[in-house]
Symmetry: C2
């Protein structure tokens, strides 16, 4: 699926950061928060923050800022985080297990219903509250549970085969933590999560710092 009709990618990726700051303001009992305050917190330009937040439909008040409670609702609705996303984890290794226990995802509507692994020692057990099934049961269980989304953390060499099984079972979105470019039908949403990209950024910035000092 091409990213047509999508708001700017960097804007969408910043929304969770805004959300966190605005939720903290809410906890502190604040009714309004200015774009300038949010910008300072995140080291962004205020104009950028206002532009980003505008895509959620929120309207700020001049010299007062954004209404906190409403801004939280607007971001949630824009991201569809006001709804539940039913998910399965495929590959119950350490990364898969980490994601099953990741509270931030739970808070944002993700409901991990089941995990799948080929290791007999894991099958039938529960990891972070999530029951682990055999890899062979994916089709049956994912259909039964009506899962929408699969978090894929299997070894790269089986990623494509497993992904095809998932889409056959009715899964239409894959959060791909494997190192493999999946080739699937255009109407399947595949979001690739690549820790190497973050490491690349970190490395370049470490190099720049070394060159500067």
């Amino acid at each position: 699926m091409k990213t047509k009709k999508l708001a700017s990618v960097p804007t969408i990726k910043r929304l969770p950061l805004y959300l966190q700051i605005v939720e903290n303001a809410h906890k502190e009992g604040k009714e309004f928060i200015s774009g300038t305050i949010i910008a300072e917190e995140l080291e962004l330009e205020p104009i950028q923050v206002r532009k980003d937040l505008a895509i959620t439909g929120i309207v700020g008040r001049p010299r007062i800022g954004f209404p906190v409670a409403q801004l939280i609702t607007c971001i949630h609705e824009f991201l569809l985080w006001d709804k539940e996303h039913s998910a399965i984890v495929v590959g119950a290794g350490s990364l898969g297990s980490a994601l099953m226990g990741y509270d931030e995802l739970k808070k944002r509507g993700m409901r991990i219903q089941a995990a799948f692994d080929s290791d007999p020692a894991k099958i039938g057990r529960t990891i972070n509250g999530v029951p682990v099934f055999a890899m062979n049961d994916i089709a049956q269980e994912a259909s039964r549970l009506g899962s929408e989304l699969a978090i894929l953390t299997v070894p790269p060499d089986v990623a494509q085969t497993v992904a095809e099984q998932l889409t056959s079972a009715g899964i239409y979105a894959i959060w791909n933590f494997t190192n493999t470019k999946l080739k699937l039908d255009e109407d399947i949403v595949v979001q690739r999560e690549d820790l190497s990209s973050g490491y690349a950024m970190l490395s370049v910035r470490m190099k720049l710092r070394l060159n500067q000092t």
Copy 2:
């Protein structure tokens, strides 16, 4: 640290994807690879690929493409992945453990020397080949090991305090997997890794798909 003097962030983040494709071509015995082939594989525009790769200093040959072995070297050198980065993991929970066992990072020069945790059940043990020390030993051990980089996977409420301890111990770069905006000296490199951003992208794309069908 501001991102001044940095090549474009999206460009840097794409370099690991290019590297993976070029390494596969190398394994298959190919001597040259064209920008168009790389672009097709990643669903990018060829002009984008050529522009991105140019920052590494590689020079392609018209109608033949890039020399594969040399391109691998150029990307490695640009990312400083030809050198070792000595690292510690702070917070040996499931995410920290997953990162300790993540081969992709090892392949890219990261040497995880030690992990730190406050859980007595983990201290003194080895996780994925990495020895786990007590949290209180960070200053001593990080100095002794000469670690450059810390991977921070502690709970958010202690992230700031721990980060300050790390910088006191000589760590100058932090890969921050916590949900906390760290406030540190300008010369400390902090790279934030936010899984919520990926989830936000995924959610918006799932929403668009639902609206389209």
